[in-house]
C-alpha cells in the first residue's frame, strides 16, 4: 500500500486520536480502516472544494476578461458590481434544467460520457502537488501519471459526441480525437525536457530542485527549456481544446460541437472538466518550468525560518514554520497557474479559430519536429558545456548537487519527524 492512500498525516492523526479516545490498540485493522476512510473523505472534500471552486472562478474570469477585451463590462448584476456570483447563479439554473436525452442517442453512453470526462480531469489533481509535501498521491511517476490521466478526458468527449446521434456532435468528436492523438506527442516530448533535466518523474523532486532564486527555474535553465515552455504551453492549450484550437466545439460551424445535444447539469459538468483541465495543465507548466510553489525571491524560506520551532507542542510532528511556508507556496502556485489560465483566456478572445487542417499541420509539421529538436538540443546542452567549460551548468551549483543537498536535508527532516512521531 502506498501513495494512493496518501493522507498519512491526517490518517495517522485520526487513528491516534480514536485510539486514545476508545482505548482500541493503534494497530487494529478496523481502526486503521476507519481512520483511513475518514482521512480520505476529508481530503477528497477539501480537494473538491478547492478544485471545484477554481473552475467557478475561471468561468467568471473568462466572462469578465472577454467583456473587457470586447470593450464591455461583462457580468455586473449578481453579487455586486463585479458579478462574482454569476457562475453560481448559472449553476443553480442549470441544475434546475431538464436532463434531456435525444431519441436517437445511445442512452447509456450518453449519460456516462460527462462523468468520464470530469473524472479524468479531476483525477489529475490526485498527483498534483499544491505545495511542498502537499500532495494527495506522492507517486514516483507523478508526471507520467498526470499525462496519462489528462489524456483520459478525450475519451469522454468522443463518447459524448458519438452517442449523441447527431452529426454535429460526431464531427466534433472526430476532430477532437484526431487533435488529441496528435497533440499528445509534442506535449509529452516538451514535458520530457524538464523531466530529463531533473532526472525524475516526481513532482516533489522537480519542485524542490527549483527552490531559491528564480534563476533556478527550469525555464531559465538553458535556451531550449525556455523555448520548450512556449511549445508546451501551445500544445497544452490545444490539448484542453481551448481557442484557437477549439475545433471540437466550433460554434460557428458545428453549432456546439460534441455537446450540442447536452443540457442542464451534464452540460455544465463538461465545462467544469474543461476549466479544471485548464488549471491542471497550467499548474503542470508552472511546476515543470516556472519554479512550482517557489516564489523565486526567497520569501518562503524567510517565512519558514521566521516561524520555525513555533507550535511544535500543539500537535506532534507539526511545524508552524513549514506550514506557513507551505500555505504561502500553495498561494504562489495557484497564482502562477491562474496567470497562465488568464493567458489562455486572453488568447481565446483575441485569436481567430484555425481550420482543422491547419491545426493538424501545426502539430505534425511544426510542433513535433520543433519539440524533437528541442529535446535533442537540451540533451546535448550539458554535454557541450562539459566539453567547453568542464561544468554542466553556466553558473551556480550543478543540478545533481542541488538534488543531493535537498535529499539529505529532507530525509533528515523526515526521520526527525518520524522520530518525533514515535
Amino acid at each position: 500500500m502506498h501513495g494512493l492512500f496518501a493522507a498519512l498525516t491526517l490518517e495517522d492523526f485520526i487513528a491516534r486520536t480514536i485510539s486514545s479516545l476508545t482505548k482500541i490498540p493503534a494497530d487494529s485493522d478496523t481502526l486503521l480502516l476507519t481512520a483511513f476512510l475518514a482521512a480520505a473523505f476529508t481530503h477528497a472534500g477539501l480537494l473538491l472544494g478547492l478544485f471545484g471552486g477554481l473552475p467557478v472562478f475561471y468561468i467568471w474570469l473568462e466572462r469578465k476578461v472577454a467583456g473587457r477585451i470586447q470593450d464591455r463590462l461583462g457580468p455586473t448584476r449578481v453579487g455586486g458590481g463585479f458579478g462574482w456570483l454569476q457562475t453560481i447563479a448559472d449553476g443553480i439554473k442549470l441544475i434546475q434544467k431538464e436532463d434531456l436525452v435525444p431519441k436517437e442517442a445511445d442512452a447509456l453512453v450518453f449519460r456516462m460520457a460527462p462523468y468520464l470526462a470530469t473524472i479524468a480531469s479531476f483525477a489529475a489533481f490526485m498527483v498534483l502537488p499544491i505545495s511542498d509535501g502537499w500532495i494527495a498521491v506522492a507517486a514516483e511517476c507523478g508526471a507520467f501519471l498526470i499525462l496519462a490521466l489528462m489524456s483520459l478526458e478525450v475519451l469522454g468527449i468522443i463518447l459524448a459526441g458519438y452517442s449523441s446521434g447527431s452529426k454535429w456532435a460526431l464531427f466534433g468528436a472526430m476532430r477532437e480525437a484526431a487533435q488529441m492523438v496528435s497533440y499528445e506527442i509534442p506535449m509529452a516530448i516538451c514535458a520530457l525536457i524538464p523531466l530529463m533535466i531533473a532526472g525524475s518523474l516526481n513532482f516533489q523532486v522537480i519542485g524542490r530542485m527549483q527552490s531559491g532564486g528564480f534563476w533556478n527555474w527550469f525555464i531559465l535553465h538553458d535556451p531550449f527549456t525556455f523555448l520548450a515552455f512556449f511549445c508546451y504551453f501551445t500544445t497544452a492549450t490545444a490539448s484542453v481544446k481551448r481557442a484557437p484550437f477549439d475545433l471540437a466545439e466550433a460554434e460557428s460551424e458545428l453549432v456546439a460541437g460534441f455537446h450540442t445535444e447536452y443540457s442542464g447539469f451534464r452540460w455544465s459538468i463538461f465545462f467544469l472538466a474543461e476549466y479544471s483541465s485548464m488549471f491542471a495543465v497550467s499548474a503542470v507548466a508552472a511546476i515543470l518550468f516556472l519554479g512550482g510553489w517557489h516564489d523565486g525571491l526567497g520569501i518562503d524560506s524567510v517565512l519558514d525560518s521566521m516561524f520555525r520551532g513555533t507550535g511544535t507542542g500543539i500537535i506532534e510532528g507539526f511545524s508552524l514554520g513549514s506550514y506557513v511556508a507551505n500555505v504561502f507556496g500553495a498561494v504562489v502556485l495557484i497564482t502562477k497557474a491562474c496567470l497562465l489560465v488568464f493567458v489562455q483566456i486572453w488568447v481565446r478572445w483575441t485569436l481567430p479559430r484555425l481550420r482543422i487542417d491547419q491545426v493538424m499541420t501545426t502539430c505534425l509539421k511544426y510542433l513535433v519536429p520543433i519539440s524533437c529538436f528541442l529535446f535533442l538540443a537540451a540533451v546535448l546542452w550539458p554535454l557541450t558545456l562539459v566539453t567547453m567549460f568542464s561544468r554542466p551548468v553556466i553558473a551556480g551549483p550543478a543540478l545533481g548537487e542541488r538534488a543531493l543537498s535537498h535529499q539529505t536535508t529532507t530525509s533528515i527532516d523526515a526521520s526527525e519527524r518520524l522520530g518525533a512521531a514515535r
Binding site: 445511445d106 507520467f144 530525509s411
Partner: protein, 230 residues
Amino acid sequence: MIEQLLFYTFAILTCGGAVAVVATQNVVRMAFWLVVSLGSVAALFFLLHADFLGAAQLLIYVGGTVVLLVFGVMLTASGPYTTIKTSPAEGIIGGAVGLMLLMVLVSSIGSVDWGAISGRLPASPESPFTADSIREAHAEESLVNAGSTKAKTDLAAVQQQGRTVRQLGLSFLGLRPDRNLKEGGANGLAPGYFLPFEIVSVHLLVVLIGAAYLARAKRRAVSEDRVSLD
C-alpha cells in the same frame, strides 16, 4: 482489509467490463466497456505496486482505445449504430467453449501450490508485507537513489511502495540493482533488458513505418471507375 476491498471492487469491474465487451454488439459500447475493463486493470496494477506500469497502461491503452473507437465509428458508419450481429448459436457455442476454457484455467490455477514453486525460485530480497513497512516507506518520502548503497530492506520497501520507475529504467539500461547475485559485489548485478529494449525500440519504428505504408491513401476501385466514366 482496504486492499481487499479495493481489489474486489476493481476485480469485479475488470471482469464485468470484459464480459460486457463480449456481450455487447455495438462497437462504441464495446469500446466503452473495454475502457472500463482496462482502466480497472490499471488500478489492479497500482494495487500490485506497479505504479509505472499502471500509468503506462492508462496512457497507452486509452490512446489505443481512442483510435480503435475512431476506426470503429469510421468503418461502420454506413448507418447509425449499425452492428454486425453474431448469430445466437455462435454466441452459445462461444460461451460454452469459453466456460470450458475458464474451468480448465481455474482448475489449473487451483491445482498448483504457488508457495512451493516460489520457494524453488532464486532468493531475492523480500520482506513481508506489513502496515509498518508501508508506513516506514511512506514516511521516507525522499528521492530514492537506486544506485546508492542502501540497505536491502530499503530496496524492498521501495518495491513495496511501487516506486519502480528508476529500477525499471535501470533494468532497461542493463542494470538490476534489485537482484544482487553476490553480496556487496559491484559487478555482481544480474543482467538486465538492454538488448530487448533496443529491439523493441527498433520494432516500434518498423511498425510505425509499416502501418503508415499499409494505411496510406489509396484510390478505391469504385472511385476510379467513376472517374473513368466521367
